[in-house]
Amino acid sequence: MSNAPHILVVDDELQIQRALRTILSEKGFKVTTASNGEEGLTLAATQEPDLVILDLGLPDTDGVEICARLREWTQCPIIVLSVRDSERDKVAALDQGADDYLTKPFGIEELLARVRVALRHAAGGKGGQSKLVKAGPLTIDLAWHIIRRGGEEIKLTGTEYKLLAYLASNHGRVLTHQSILTHVWGPADADHTEYLRVYMRQLRKKLEEDPERPAYILTEPGIGYRFIADE
């Protein structure tokens, strides 16, 4: 079990600590828990976990700040937990380098899926990343810039391709509006969420079977977008 990924859970609720420890251990992860921000930072530094699950509502330090402080020296994936209606905090944490978020209360399948995606992206960052992303009938070849649905090639404009490529190469992860806008349009347009809305609609029309009920390009309300690819 020495190769089991090590997860650090930082949450002040003992019930949640206990539940996460039980479930994650059961799934074969090595679990360490911390009840406050300072303890979390210390444990992260000494134990070098493979992934951090961080509650944003900690008693001592602001979770967003902990994200920023972790990012000063480690690229280990961070999944933040928060309650509903704190979109602002979630976006702030994501923009400070958190990889994903979950809204409490959450289902455990959701958590495990996010953990898997985050660990895979962390591993991909070290090794070479897959240049071929598959999602249902869609095949996105990031090396050759070719998108196919079934066998048929789909034509995209330059901006549409840049947008899809960014989403697909981060498949499974949530991307904030600001991060997508900065990446595709440039920092000057980082506030123009309306660009995103309009281009996402075009992409969905070209890629989704039912653009009104998308299956691959999902909206994360108030946060951003997430591309769902086959596991």
Binding site: R84, D85, E87, P105, G107, K155, L156, T157, G158, T159, E160, Y161, T193, E194, Y195, R197, V198, M200, R201, P211, E212, R213, P214, L218, T219, P221, G222
Partner: protein, 477 residues
């Protein structure tokens, strides 16, 4: 002023004497004496007792000099003329005094009437005022204009310290000439300070100012009582709301909790076989009811945010069909029993709304429609532009709502059917109302021939402007 009055009186007497002198041959001495009384009376009436008596004495001499023989001397020969002269003097003085007294009485009555008018004006101006600042302002201005003073200060120490002064630009350097306390039943509320060096403040003015002060005290007392009453009313209302919340919440929270407790304890007891389908049912029930509980708590939080005015939309230019789409994706399991028709054209302009809040509106309206409409009926979402607004309809073929209740269904905890038949918090529609109104829109419900429709409108403009142009790629690559 005084000097001019004497001079004018003299002028009048000279003029009258001139006329009488011209008619000396025609008029009898006693008639002239009688006629002289007219200007004398008028002089006293217009210019007061001093000029009146003085004129009487002067007339006594001129009468003697010009009209009593021998002419142009002050000597009197005939005894009858002596009588005429003496009677004239007495009558002139008496008339002067009587007229003057009547005049003074009239002046006092006028002053009293003016005071009464001022008081009336003050109390009219103060009627219905429930704001201490406005009361202070009105009283200070009235006192300033009535007393013709240099500076008036209205200083309230209770309940909140407040000073108002007239004129606002002037600051006196000396102590005030008069201080009148504002005495109310609750104690001294403050004081009125008045600066007027000259003329000195008379006792009647002082009395008037005291009356003003007590009017002020009454007005302040009234304002205080009105505020206390409205505070009590707010408390009472929020008390009613709290007990409504408590009764609804305890009912609504207990239902899923009972399910969870029953399912969890039966799973724990080992009574249920590991591989029986009942086990899966129980687990699903726990999961579903936990979601339900989460929704209840979310609704309560939303409602309290709306109530406290903390619900501020975070607007962005959004595509309505995208919002509807993500609601449909999330609700797909609860819509399996109904046919859904979506008519939200792509050509609709971008709308300036809070994505998350609008999602909530659609979720609540849809789940309400699904809850009441029978299975296999059509639930429809329809959106069109109407002028500067977008008009959205969420219609279902469910039962109609009594016309009297169409408004009230958006009230908190309002239900048409018995609470136990349909579950929910009774907050969903009032949350929709709160959100739509925070966006500057309107929400209402109506019965139609084959069912029931929720309508809402949203403005298409944000800070006065419509959606911006989006730079688009010109050609495919």
């Amino acid at each position: 002023m005084r000097f001019w009055q004497y001079l004018l009186s003299l002028g009048v007497i000279a003029m009258v004497t001139g006329i009488f002198f011209a008619l000396r041959g025609v008029l009898d001495t006693t008639l002239i004496a009688l006629l002289y009384l007219i200007p004398l009376g008028l002089i006293t009436a217009f210019w007061g007792l001093g000029p009146g008596i003085t004129s009487a004495l002067i007339v006594f001499l001129t009468f003697n000099y010009f009209f009593i023989q021998p002419y142009y001397t002050l000597t009197v020969h005939r005894p009858t003329d002596v009588v005429v002269l003496v009677v004239f003097l007495i009558v002139a003085v008496v008339i002067s005094q009587l007229v003057a007294r009547a005049q003074a009485g009239l002046a006092a009555a006028t002053a009293r009437e003016r005071e009464a008018t001022q008081l009336y004006e003050l109390s009219t101006a103060l009627t219905g005022l429930h704001d201490n600042h406005a009361i202070a302002q009105i009283i200070a201005r009235q006192i300033h204009s009535v007393s013709q003073s240099e500076y008036v200060e209205f200083d309230i120490s209770e309940p909140q310290p407040l000073v108002f002064h007239v004129p606002e630009t002037y600051q006196p350097t000396r102590a005030p000439e008069l201080i009148v306390p504002i005495q109310a039943a609750r104690g001294v509320l403050g004081e009125i300070r008045l600066w007027r060096a000259s003329p000195a403040i008379t006792s009647s003015e002082k009395r008037l100012l005291q009356t003003f002060a007590s009017q002020g005290a009454l007005a302040l007392e009234r304002a205080w009582l009105a505020q206390a009453e409205s505070r009590a009313r707010v408390l009472e209302e929020s008390d009613q709301l709290k007990s409504a919340i408590l009764s609804s919440v305890s009912h609504e929270l207990r239902t899923p909790l009972s399910t969870i407790k029953a399912a969890a304890s039966s799973l724990r007891s080992g009574e249920v076989n590991w591989d029986s389908p009942a086990r899966m049912d129980l687990i699903t029930a726990i999961d579903d009811e936990a979601d339900h509980l989460n929704m209840l708590v979310g609704n309560l939080l939303d409602m309290s945010r709306i109530e406290s005015g903390a619900l501020k939309p975070k607007r962005d230019w959004n595509i309505l069909s995208e919002i509807v789409g993500s609601v449909l994706v999330r609700m797909k399991y609860s819509m399996e029993e109904h046919k859904l028709e979506i008519d939200v054209p792509e050509s609709l302009p971008l709308v300036p709304v809070d994505y998350v809040q609008l999602e909530q509106v659609f979720t609540n309206l849809l789940s309400n429609s699904l809850k009441y409409a029978p299975a296999n009926t059509v639930v429809r979402i329809h959106a069109r532009v109407e002028g500067e607004m977008i008009h959205v309809k969420v219609s279902n073929q469910g039962p109609q709502v009594p016309p009297g209740d169409l408004q009230r269904i958006f009230d908190k905890f309002y239900r048409i059917t018995a609470a136990d038949r349909v579950t929910g918090t009774g907050l969903g529609l009032s949350i929709c109302k709160g959100i739509i109104e925070a966006h500057g829109g309107r929400i209402w419900a109506e019965n139609v021939s084959d069912g029931f429709v929720f309508n809402f409108t949203l403005p298409l403009t944000w800070d006065g402007s419509r959606a911006p142009q989006i730079p688009m790629d010109t050609e495919n690559e």
